[in-house]
Structure formats: C-alpha cells, structure tokens
Amino acid sequence: MAVIRDMLRRIGPLLLLIAIVFAIAWLASFAGVVLQRRVIFGLVNLVAVVGLYIFMGNSGLLNFSAVGFMAIGAYTSALLTMLPTMKHTFLPDLPLWLGDAHLPPLAGAFAGGGVAATVALVVGWPLMRLTGIAVGIATLSLLIIIYIVIGNWTSLTGGQQSLMGLPAYVGLWTSALFAAGAILLAFVYQETRFALALRAAREDEVAARASGVHVLRERLTAFVLAAFVSGVGGALFGHFIGTLRVESFYLDPTFLFISMLVVGGMRSLSGAVVGTLVISVLTELLRLAEAGVTLPFAATKVAAPAGLGDVLLAALMLLIILFRPQGITAGREISFPLFAREGSRKLTPQT
Amino acid sequence: MTATANSSSPLLSIDGLVVRYGQITALSEVSLHVDEGEVVSIVGPNGAGKSSLLGAIAGLVQPAGGRIAFAGEPVAPRALERTVRRGIALVPEGRHVFGGLTVHENLMLGATVRNDRRVVDDEIARFFDIFPILGERRNEAAGRLSGGEQQMLVIARALLSKPRLLMLDEPSLGLAPKVTDRVYELLAEIRAQGLTILVVEQNAPRALKAANRTYVLNGGRVRLAGPSATLAADPDFEAAYFGLRTEAAS
C-alpha cells in the first residue's frame, strides 16, 4: 500500500495537470463555438509553453528561439499535408517530391517536430556551450535568422505571403490530447536522471561538472526535446488557424510564451500550465473589456480603449519579474493534498 | 546618540558579529576592537572568515547579527559609497587595480571623495617621488604592472582618500618575499605617521611582526588574542591557527 501511495505521490502532479487539461476541454465542449476556439488556442499555446519549459525550466538558460522552432514545425507540417494541387498553385517551385507529398495530418505534425528537433540538434551542438547573456543573445539571433530565412525562401515557404490551405484538424479533443501528451513527455523527461543532472548543473555548473555531469550533452538533449515539442506546437498552431504567416512566429508570441512561463513559474511543469491558464484567462477578460460590456441599468456600452489589454499584460509580466521572479508556483509542482506528506513534492534538488 | 571618539574609546569596535551566507556561518560572535594609531592584525587559515570580517566593516556584506561601530557611530550595512567617506579605506584581496585605466587615473580615483585638487596633485607627485617606478609608468595601464607594483598602487590609492583606518586583506598574497618586505616597510612608514591599520593575513609571522596586537581567527571565531609579541611566544598559537583544540580556545 505504501508503495502505491508513494507512486501516486510521485505522479500526482502529472495526473492532476492532465486532469485539468481534459476538464477544461470538457467544460468548453458545452460552450459556444467562439469560446471553444479560444480554448483550443489556449491548449495549443500550452503545448508551446511546455516546449519552452522543457529547456528553460531544467537548464535555467534563456531561450528566445523556441518560436522559431514552432515556425519550422508549422511550415514542415504544412508542406507535407497540404493538398498537392494547392501546393502546385501557390508554390510552383517546390521540388517534385515535396510538391506531391500528401501525408496524413498526424504524420505531418510529428514530422514537423522531427525536423525542428533535427535543426535544434545541429545548431544546438555549438550553442549549448554558451551561458548567461551570451545564450540569450545567441538564441535571439537564431530566432531572427529563422525568421529571415523562412520569410525570404519564397520558393519553399511562400516568403512574406500567407500560406493557405492547411488541413484543419485541430479540434477541442485533439488539442487536449496533444497538450496532455506534451505534459506527459515533459514529466517523463524531468523524472529521468539526465534531467536531474541538468538541473544540478543549473544550480551549480562547476560542482555538476566535477561530479561528472556532461553538461553540454544534457543541455543539448533538453534543447532538442524542447524543439520537438515546440515544432509540434507550431504545427498545431498552423493547422488550427489554417493559414501561415511568418510574422506570427516572431517577437510577439516569443514574449507571450516567455510571459506565460515566467508568470506561472519557470522552474516547474505546473508553472507552465498555471501560467498559460492565468494569462489566457486574463487575455480573454481584457479582450471582452475592450469589446465592451453593455451595462444593465444604463443602455450604454462601456469599453476599454483598444490596446489596453496588451499594455496590462506586459505590465503584469514586468511586475512579476520585478517582485516575484519565481512566478506563481515558485518552482513547486501542484499535487493532491491527500497524498502529500511534507508538502508538495519538490521535483528540483533540495538547495 | 553620537559619541565623539576620544583616546579612551576604540576607533573601531566590533561586538558579537555574525555573518552568514545562506546555510553557512562565516563568522559567529566575533568581537574585537582597534584603537587609534594601532596596527592590529587578524591571522588565520583560508576560510577562517577574515575576508567576511573586513567585508562587514566595509559594508560589502550584511551581518546577521552584532554591532560594528566606527568612531563611535554605527556602521550601516550595504552603504559601500559611505565607507570611504567615513574614513575607512579598504584594500581588498587580490589588489583590484582598475586595470584598463592608467596608474595616474587609479590614483586620482583614490581621491574621489576629496575636493582639494591642488593638495591631491601634490600628494600624487610625492607618491611618484617615493615610487619612481610608478612615476615612470604613470600613463600606462595599471593592469600591466607587476604584482608588487600593483599592491603599492592600491595602497597609495587607498591613502589618497585620507582615511582614518586603513584595512588590508592579505597584502602579501601572491607576492615574492622581497616584495612583501617592501610592502610591509611601506605599512610601517604609514603607521609611523599615525594612521590606524587593520591587516588580515594568512602569513602569520609577517603579521605578528608588523602589528601591535593580533587576533587569531579560525572557523569564524576568535581563538586567541593579545599583544603580538606575547602571541608569538605562545605555545598554543599554532594550535589556535590551525584549529586544533587548545586550553585557551573558548
């Protein structure tokens, strides 16, 4: 019995998080189409934020390039799953095998993740030697490079023009499944001793190296895994919207996802989920406020000025980073109070 | 409540000082004092807490407990810029010249808190008289000087702020014995002019020779204290320095 209880305590956070995801999807299934679409968007964002977390949370390093890998995943999936006839029309210069390719959507998403992961492997191998400010600037440069390359490789991606006609398959339960899958993947990874070694290096790089941790290898593993998840997230995003624009994979979503992770708490998987939830809800409320509310007693519409929502969210992010940089969860995972003995289980080493 | 310093109350007095870094206690209940015009040395092995002590006096570290008073006034933690304005000059471990700036510029920075430009220029000229080598290289980057030259430079830089108390953290570290001799000769001259000096050293014999009184610090506590001459002859001295249990240890 103690063994089962122990195991439950260990995977408690995972079960709870997945339950939250499905609960949200289930609740949304009763709502109107508009709200459902917002929820799907939130779940797709969750995949992206979990991808960001896999690297940033475990390594403690800043990664500005996650959205770039989303773009790679999105465009890869698009090119592989779009109707060949559409491709011949919009992208006449595609190589023949690519132009004729027509994979099922799921394969497209995973292929997107795969290509993103491969790119991450190649660029990550040199990049993971950097730390501190250098890795921040390097990953920002990487994001910009990806943005420029995709935006100008017109024969492959359509360049600055929108790429239309992506098969739409991202519904409520699909996105929930993918979100749950991403959470599962992140959880399994962070329980491995590789991730543990990485977190040790996060706390004290010198001591970790001295203990035999192969820091470069661990960072690269996290980077590649994170890129895979980001790539899949990008594919989901593309297939949800139905149209791809390179502009949607640049600084604004970068800021959004980093905000979600930081506000929730950079150091825990629950932080990724909580942060996405909080910011998504706030965004929705602010959007409603900007759309206007008709007051019941006075027949007038009261609306917040346009753009206020964006300002307030950015202000929230600033306040959190200034006064509570560890975020809402502060590195702790959520868990069932029943199964917790000395409080929630710390998935990070005791400091 | 201000108490003007007079010859009967110490220039620097430390009472029950506690310094912690996270879980590690670097200093526990350290008390000592320095009278005006004295040279006091604090000796101890690596990790004894000596640098933390100077750090607390200078405001570099925030004490977890205890009191530090200089010239009768309490010392506020973290107020680094006020340290030198109160009359405390610190020469930290490792010298820390401003490597990219010239020798002359380093010296001028020592006088940051002073307004009497002419007098400062005179004093700098006199330093160059006493140390012709520094004078010759006055427009060279300070980072290019040898270890000993840098040590002289930072002491001169500290003196230019006209301190009442000069604190030195391991001035002999990394220097050849002959060079260390010169450094301590300089310190003796400074002391002869009435300046109060607090010097922290791993090199115990050197410190004992130079100081009126010595404290032996180990494991964050004062193990032994007294006039240097007495301590030098004390059979428990080595034990106290190396952290072995002695009769005198409290």
């Binding site: 420029i148 753009g307 | 570099l60």
Partner: protein, 294 residues
C-alpha cells in the same frame, strides 16, 4: 565614381547611426552588465516627440526630444532596472525584454499603431556637390554629427572627473564604490546619456526614413546589439567600431550582392553574431576589466 562616393556616404552615415545606437547600449552595458532592449523605445519616443512638435521650430523639437528621452531613460532605470541590480543574467534579460515590450505596447495604446509621417530636417533634403560628385546633405550631416558626438563622448569620458568615475565603474563596479564613486549617480548618468544619444539618432533616422511607428527603433537597436557583441560587450570603443563595421558591411553587401541573396544578408549578420559569441565572446576589442569583480 559617383556611385562609389554615394555608397561610401550611405555606408558611413548608416554606420554612424549604428555606432551612436551601439554607444547608447554599450554605455549601459558597461556599467551595469544589462542588455537594454528598451533602448529601442527610447529612440521611438524621441521620434514621436519630434513628430508631435512638427510645426514648431527645430530647436524646440530637438530640445524636447532630448529631454523626453533622457527623462524616460532615467525613469526606466529607477523603476524597472534598479530593483534588479543584483539579479542573474537570465532574469535581467527577460526583464529588459519585458520593459521594451511594455513601452512598445504603451506607445501603441497612446498614439495608435498607424504610421505617422514627419520631416524634421527639411533643409537637408538636397544634395551638395563635393569634388564634382553629388552627396546627400542629410547623409553628410549625419556623418558629421556622429563624428562630433563620438568625439565629445570620448572627451567627456577621458578628460572629466565624472567620466573617469564612469570608466572606473565600468571596469569594476564594486571597487569603484569602495573608493567613493556613487553607484546610483553613475548609472543614472549612463542612462541619461544613453537617452540623449537615442534622441539624436531618432532625429537623424526619422529624417532619413520620413515616418515613425511604434516599432521605429527596434530594427536599429537589434542591429546595434549585433554591433556591440561583435565589437566587444562592455567596451565603448568596440561598440562604436562595431557599429561602423556593421553599417559599412551592410551597405556594401546591399550594393554588391545579387538580388536574390540580399534579404539573407541580415541573416548572415546574425550568423556572424553567433560565431563571435562562440569563438571570441569578448568581441573584437575585449573590455579589459570584464572579468574583474570584487
């Protein structure tokens, strides 16, 4: 010959703008080890002030722009960066990024995201003839202003007492405080200078482009960051040289690259950044005191 002179004029005027922007960023980085992304918004705000005072005499517009950006810079430091003085690099970078996004969105909220046109230096919309060759007056003035400001800043840092204190703080922040340099004053001064530089850049850049929008300064600053990294983080001389190099290489590539490859030249630039960070992280002209910390 005409083309060569024009390319050179383009190269040096763009290089000058990048150099001034890089200096503004470098000033702050050298004393605080902070990569100030919000510098983009300092430039943008300067341009908007110029736009707002379009009808007024130039002197008034310029003075107002300089005062506004200096005030913004000092205020940003006081509110958003001072609490983080001892934070780790990742937190500071995220914070810097957040400040930039916040100011950008505040601008969008206050003035809208539509492009506004302006022509702050109409008297320079002509060309002068030098040695039989026509050169844009604006470009010429840009080069001269950049050179003068660079010289002025250098003089200030090397010859004045306060400049010496700033250089000491950039070398070894803690030690400089121990000799009595006031940290808050030096940092505020770095931000104020940075803001003033941003205003000048805004004036010259707005005169060249003719319009302003909420992302006005972003492109400049991103490239100026590249220049700072290549020239050597923490080294002002390196930042300026880096800025010139980037501007010159950028224009030359634009002139001589085949058209299909031109958009990729910027990607190439960022590739160089990554290479520099990997191979020679201290940049071309490493700052001497970069490693020293008491």
């Amino acid at each position: 010959m005409q083309m060569i002179i024009q390319v050179l004029a383009d190269a040096f005027s763009l290089g000058g703008l990048y150099a001034l922007t890089a200096l503004g960023i470098g000033l702050i980085f050298s004393v605080m080890r902070l990569a100030n992304f919000a510098h983009a918004e300092f430039v943008t705000v300067g341009a908007y002030v110029l736009f707002a005072l379009s009808g007024e005499p130039l002197v008034m517009g310029v003075a107002a722009a300089i005062l506004a950006t200096m005030a913004l810079a000092v205020l940003t430091e006081r509110l958003a960066f001072r609490p983080l003085r001892n934070a780790d690099p990742a937190t500071m970078l995220i914070s810097s990024f957040s400040v930039s996004m916040f100011l950008q969105r505040l601008l969008v909220f206050l003035v809208g995201s539509r492009i506004k046109t302006l022509d702050p230096l109409p008297m320079l919309n002509n060309a002068v003839t030098i040695g039989g060759v026509q050169v844009s007056s604006l470009k010429l003035v840009t080069i001269i202003v950049c050179a003068v400001l660079l010289a002025g800043l250098t003089l200030f840092l090397k010859k004045t007492r306060f400049g010496l204190q700033m250089r000491a703080a950039a070398e070894n922040f803690t030690m400089s405080r121990l000799v009595g340099v006031r940290a808050n004053t030096v940092i505020a001064a770095a931000f104020a200078l940075s803001g003033a530089l941003a205003a000048v850049v805004a004036l010259l850049f707005a005169a060249q482009t003719g319009f302003v929008q909420p992302r006005f300064g972003v492109q400049l600053v991103i490239i100026a960051f590249v220049a700072t990294v290549i020239g050597g983080l923490g080294n002002l001389f390196g930042a300026a040289v880096g800025g010139f190099l980037v501007g010159i290489v950028s224009i030359l590539l634009q002139a001589f690259l085949p058209p299909e490859l031109r958009p990729f030249r910027e990607a190439g630039l960022f590739l160089v950044v990554i290479l520099v960070l990997l191979v020679r992280p201290q940049g071309l002209f490493p700052a001497r005191g970069l490693k020293e910390r008491v």
